[in-house]
Amino acid sequence: MFSCLPAKLLDLTIVPAKYEVEVTDRFSSADSASKRPGKGLFDAGSLSDAKSVRPLKSLAEGISSADYMTKTLAMHLELWERPRINDFMRKGKGVKAFDALSSSDWISKSNVITCVDTFLGEFYIGRRPSKNVSDIFETTEVVAKDATKILYDSGYLGDVASKHALKILRDEQVLGDYANKTGIKPFSERFGLSEIVAKVGYTLTGEKVPRVYFLPDQYKYLWDVIEEEYHNIKVNACKRLYNVLQWIRRRVLGLKYPGPLRDAIAMSDYVVRRVTIARREKLEYDFSLEKSK
């Protein structure tokens, strides 16, 4: 006799169980939104508005709305430090610098090593990205920033969204909102000013006599000619100096007072002519790279 039923019926049901562990420590936060698919450790305090999106492991710590520090360990290293800053400064011609203060909301997304520092008080920033000239201001403190590929300064920013790919040098000042997307070497501008010669002259015993200058051939138009007037001025100066020597001799020896020394030997040097040359190199943005993306 055969049975249509199996010899032994085994009914086993597996009920899957899901465990989710979440550790959240949050206090005094008005608005906060975060999204993290992976492991996360977040500690926030006294935050008014903060938004962050990070794909992988992250470590974030925010302290007050004005001063906070965020360290992110993701695919790349990111270090942001933004203390309270109430001053901003202007850099010289064509280049502007500023300091950020109490940015309430900001969103950043970057995939290259980025170093952004903002500082407090009177200072100057000497920047040495790679091949650039550093800008120097009147200073009481010195801060030098070295960034391999990116140097980014922002100040008075309300909302910032930026995406940087490769070499970027950017200075912004007093911006409300801006969004930026840059490619390779978006903009580069260099400005240099060199002084060829400052021709100095003397007031020799009351008469103006310039020094003469002999320059390389490329500045041949700046050559000086020794004129006959200069020779005559020297003769006059020699005569006056002889009289002054006599006058001083009588004073030193206590002889009869020779009278007041005339104002003929005035002491004042003057710059006859100053020649400067400005060199400016400018590389415009290459839009073809942007369109090809």
Binding site: V209, C238, Y242, R249
Partner: protein, 132 residues
């Protein structure tokens, strides 16, 4: 005092050799050499005067010493020229640099002498006041 008198006498002789020039005249080697010699002798005279000043008032004037040192250093670079040499810019510049240094030194000595005379007057004024 004979040293300073000798130097002033020599300066007078050199001044007699100097000539004014006008447009179109040649630049002679003697012009540059006379100026060079004048600057050298005038510098020696200045040093003599300064030594007398230090001996009399017992103080050193840093400005004067710096100017003397600068003028001496500049004169080392100026050599005598001869017929056929190119008139270089240094022939002009070094001479006026030296003359300017001598002038500045003399003015500084004059200032110090004026201050010393004012102090002497003040001292006499106080003595008269006490006597009255």
């Amino acid at each position: 005092m004979s040293l300073i008198e000798d130097k002033l006498e020599k300066l007078r002789d050199l001044l007699g050799k100097m000539r004014y020039v006008s447009e179109g005249e040649y630049v002679l080697a003697d012009h540059t050499n006379t100026f060079r010699e004048y600057a050298s002798v005038a510098l020696d005279a200045l040093k003599e005067l300064y030594e007398y000043y230090k001996a009399k008032f017992g103080e050193e004037l840093q400005v004067v010493e710096d100017n003397i040192q600068m003028a001496e250093n500049r004169l080392k670079f100026l050599e005598r020229v001869k017929y056929g040499d190119v008139v270089a810019t240094r022939d002009h510049n070094i001479i006026i640099d030296c003359l300017k240094s001598i002038e500045a030194s003399l003015i500084e000595i004059d200032k110090s002498l004026w201050l010393a005379s004012m102090e002497e007057l003040y001292r006499l004024y106080k003595e008269i006041l006490y006597a009255l």
